[in-house]
């Protein structure tokens, strides 16, 4: 069930690329400094629908490349050791800790970050619900919470409260605003299903 949904999601992302016709950048992204003695690799990654060719050191993590070399600082590094979830992004539609993925592993794959949630200046239903229901306190874990929630709603648009908690339990919030995050996701799911009903 979730596998099918995931494939659909990936296909959806692909269609987005065709529609917006973002060309493959002719030039490899500048990623200095690259230490010459360290092995490096040129990878191609689709980031938020845009294909990017990047030269990376093999030791760089995905979140390092996103933040330090592509300027996508929405994904945060809270622990850099796969504990907190602040760096959660979608890799081919599945939520991963981008601090625990080497950038070279993302070669040929698709990455979605918090910056990709807003489409044509329109906030995602999750983002709107996070604002209305006071999801972020300090906000440092918020991008990760959003991406985990996004992955959940992509394959399960009508989750129960318990399903939300399970899907997001890899995202620590030390402000402990867990009630608000769950409330936000349930509200977003409600909004989405209401708009789906209207369309039907």
């Amino acid at each position: 069930m979730s596998r099918i949904s995931r494939r659909k999601f990936v296909e959806g992302t692909g269609a987005g690329i065709v529609a917006t016709a973002v060309p493959l950048k002719g030039q490899t992204a500048r990623t200095a400094p690259v230490t010459p003695s360290v092995p490096h690799t040129t990878i191609q990654v689709t980031v938020n629908g845009e294909r990017r060719k990047i030269e990376v050191e093999d030791r760089w993590t995905l979140v390092e490349v996103l933040r330090d070399h592509l300027g996508l600082t929405g994904s945060k590094v809270g622990c850099d050791r796969g504990e907190c979830g602040a760096c959660t992004v979608l890799l081919d539609g599945r939520p991963v800790y981008s601090c625990s993925q080497l950038a070279v592993w993302a070669d040929g794959r698709s990455v979605e970050t918090v910056e990709g949630l807003t489409q044509h200046g329109q906030l995602d239903a999750l983002q709107q619900a996070f604002i209305q229901h006071d999801g972020p306190q300090c906000g440092f874990c918020t991008s990760g919470q959003l991406m985990s929630a996004k992955a959940l709603l992509n394959h399960n648009p009508h989750p129960t409260v318990d399903e939300v908690r399970h899907a997001m339990t890899g995202n620590i919030c030390r402000c402990s605003n867990y009630n608000r995050y769950v409330e936000s996701v349930m509200a977003a799911a409600g909004t989405l299903s209401a708009s789906a009903r209207r369309k039907a």
Binding site: P33, T35, S37, V38, E57, R59, R67, D68, L72, T73, G74, S75, K76, V77, G78, C79, D80, R81, E83, C84, A86, T113, V114, E115, L117, T118, L123, Q127, F130, I131, Q132, D134, G135, P136, Q137, C138, G139, F140, C141, T142, S143, L146, V164, R165, H166, M168, T169, G170, N171, I172, C173, R174, C175, S176, N177, Y178, N179, R180, Y181, V182
Partner: protein, 700 residues
């Protein structure tokens, strides 16, 4: 209470959109041209003298640009220790995690590799982890003069508070209860790890800090680096939490500045998560010995506390143990000793002196109530504080309503039962606890500029650590000015653009800076009445530097929490299944964000009750649980739904009668959970955290 137009209405944060789109710029998101990355090398020993440091291999690594050690840096970090001289790099090193060197290099991988290439020759020294053992004769001396950290008067004596005569109080009792409790070192564990970026432009230093108080940070950097205040600028635009451990200027701010000076380019110094757990500070561990005297009818005659707090090797925090002040009682004696130990440094964490002390006294008072066959709620209603220290009236007190209405909402009578009742294996139990927190009034500033387009530019030196301080300030300004919230443009987090603010510690921003905002708004209204609205390029500017006199009455916030737990008596697992938090914080400025604060504080306290501890290996003196998994902070799956009840008392002080809010939220939560566990299983765990092994231990 009268209804206001802006204040008191739920309002989403004015910066919420930035926080949900990844466009809020946190300190670590800043990248300056030519910037280097820095890492710190730390002691792997709990106590050791450094014989020598060999930098040759690190210096030879291509890409390394600057290195600091004690050899080339004798800068004293003033706010790192209030009693002794604490250098940025100390010899001897006094805990596993004490800084030994800092390296700046082209990127963080090179900097990290360079720290591994630094060769340090250590002579290991004996160490001591427990505060009482540290005070024994013959214990290794951690600081010159011994391990008894001096009190506020500089004497190596405990901090003592007395009223009445404790011996008389104990003699007057029909029954004396005696018990002891311990609490663990718990880390603040805010999600944003420590980071500082320093940039020199000529002789002017800009530090992009992750701080709870730009003003304090600014003053202290200038002091420690011997710079004129106008030569230092501190910026913190978005901040990923702190809970008390980002109050002052920190060693990494200073290290970044010195590395940047040496290298001639900007430097970003980052801590790893492990460093963040070990090398900043957490809540001080305590040992608490109580005696309580009580009459047969439940009237208290005496409360005595002898406590010990382990401060780590540097004195950064008060080391106090608070809680007994929530009871009225004629004879009270509290004596707390702060000791140096070779564990991570201890200082402020949300309600610094409170949750551990309230755990101790509220555990014992619970036992007293049960022993007298009194309902714990009735016992507290009988003995709760009516005047501060039984002497000074409160400006307002909603404690009784917090207890009564909280108990009603919780359905206390239905959920509470005889201890240990129920057949198991999963047993339910209900517990409650109460608390109070100082609601200070004091110095702060605000500036409002009004332009001819009708925008009010509010300058406040806040950073907004997650408390919604910016939104609170904007609401207060909008209320006083009588304009829509959208007309308020808040400028914050930059010492070159904002006036002094007290900093987000002590839950003081609303009461201190909010008061200054009210005064600035009033001044602006007077100016408008006098001069009319500004036209064209005109601008009206109102400034307030306020320092309201403390009221003669005591100003406190009050709180009562109620928890219901399920305890699996075969596995020792505890789940909090119902939770009610009743709060008197005076008038609530923004119910939306205030409620979030309460929910978060309560849940954080549940983690302190059940999971969190920085464990040390007694044989090696090395920490074992430095990280989120090890500390087992609360997750989505652990968190119960917290029901929040506002008891809004009328208070004549503070902006629109607002009292403190952020810290009271955690104060009684630990004790409420502990008391619920007792009610469920009929046995009391007296050492925090109440982990599965301890529950199975008392049940065995």
């Amino acid at each position: 209470m009268n209804t206001l137009n802006q204040v008191g209405h739920a309002s989403p944060r004015i910066d919420a959109q930035k926080r949900v789109t990844g466009t809020a710029t946190y300190t670590g998101d800043i990248r300056l041209p030519g910037m280097l990355y820095a890492r710190v090398l730390r002691s792997p020993h709990p106590h050791a003298r450094i014989r020598s440091i060999d930098l040759s291999r690190a210096q030879a690594l291509p890409g390394v640009k600057a290195i600091l050690t004690r050899e080339n840096c004798d800068v004293v970090w003033g706010s790192g220790d209030t009693r002794n001289k604490r250098y940025l790099f100390n010899n001897p090193v006094r805990f596993a995690g004490d800084a030994v060197a800092a390296v700046a290099a082209l990127d963080r991988h090179i900097a990290e590799e360079a720290t591994r290439l630094i060769e340090v020759d250590y002579e290991t020294l004996p160490f001591v982890l427990d505060p009482e053992e540290a005070l024994q004769p013959g214990a290794v001396e951690i600081q010159p003069g011994g391990n008894h950290s001096p009190n506020n008067r500089g004497e190596r004596q405990p901090e003592v508070y007395r009223r009445g005569n404790i011996e008389e109080g104990l003699r007057a009792a029909d029954q004396v209860f005696e018990d002891h409790y311990t609490s663990a070192h718990v880390n603040n564990a805010q999600l944003e790890p420590r980071v500082a970026i320093a940039q020199w432009e000529g002789d002017k230093l800009t530090v992009y800090a992750s701080t709870q108080g730009i003003s304090n940070c600014h003053t202290e950097i200038a002091r420690d680096l011997n710079l004129a205040p106008e030569k230092v600028r501190v910026i913190c635009q978005f901040m990923g939490g702190g809970f008390g451990n980002k109050n002052q200027c920190h060693d990494f701010d200073l290290m970044a500045a010195l590395l940047a000076k040496q290298a001639g380019v900007p430097v970003k110094l980052e801590f790893t998560r492990k460093e963040d757990f070990l090398s900043v500070h957490g809540r001080w561990p305590t040992k608490q010995y109580y005696k309580v005297g009580v009459k047969r009818d439940g009237t208290l005659t005496a409360i005595q506390l002898r406590g010990y707090s382990g401060m780590g090797p540097y004195r950064k925090g008060s080391g106090g143990i608070a809680g007994i002040e929530i009871y009225q009682c004629p004879h009270v004696e509290r004596s707390v000793t702060q000791a140096y130990t070779n564990i991570a440094v201890s200082a402020n964490l949300r309600g610094p002196d409170y949750p551990q002390g309230v755990f101790g006294i509220e555990s014992l008072m619970d036992d007293v109530a049960y022993s007298l066959k009194m309902d714990p709620v009735d016992f507290r209603l009988k003995n709760m504080t009516r005047k501060f220290n039984d002497q000074t009236p409160y400006t307002s007190i909603g404690l009784e309503d917090c207890i009564r209405r909280g108990a009603e909402a919780f359905e206390w009578k239905k959920r509470w039962h005889a201890p240990g009742a129920g057949s198991g294996p999963v047993k339910r139990g209900a517990g409650m606890a109460m608390g109070s927190f100082f609601s200070s009034m004091g110095r702060s500033s605000a500036v409002i500029d009004l332009d001819s387009r009708g925008m009010y530019h509010l300058h406040v030196g806040v950073t907004d650590i997650g408390t919604a301080a910016k939104t609170t300030m904007a609401l207060i300004a909008a209320e006083e000015l009588g304009v829509p919230l959208e007309k308020i443009d808040v400028i914050w987090g930059d010492t070159d653009r904002c006036p002094y603010s007290v900093g987000e510690s002590g839950s003081r921003t609303t009461t201190h800076t909010g008061y200054a905002v009210v005064e600035a708004a009033r001044d602006l209204k007077r100016q408008i009445a006098e001069k009319g609205l500004p036209q064209g390029s005109q601008m009206l500017t109102a400034t307030a530097n306020t320092n309201p006199a403390a009221p003669t009455a005591a100003r406190y916030s009050f709180v009562a929490h109620f928890a219901e737990v399920e305890v699996d008596t075969e596995l020792g697992h505890v789940k909090v299944v119902k939770y009610v938090a009743a709060h008197d914080s005076g008038r609530v400025v923004n119910p939306l964000t205030a409620t979030s604060q309460v929910k978060g504080g309560a849940i954080m306290g549940i983690g302190m009750a059940l999971h969190e501890e920085l464990l040390y290996d007694k044989a090696t003196g090395l920490p074992l649980t430095a990280g989120y998994y090890g500390a087992r902070v609360m997750t989505h799956l652990d968190a119960p739904e917290v029901e929040v009840l506002w008891i809004e008392t009328e208070d004549a002080y503070g902006p629109f009668g607002a009292k403190t809010l952020g810290e009271p939220t955690i104060i009684p939560s630990v004790a409420a959970v502990a008391n619920a566990i007792y009610n469920a299983i009929g046995k009391r765990v007296k050492d925090l955290p109440i982990t599965r092994d301890k529950i199975l231990g008392v049940l065995a």
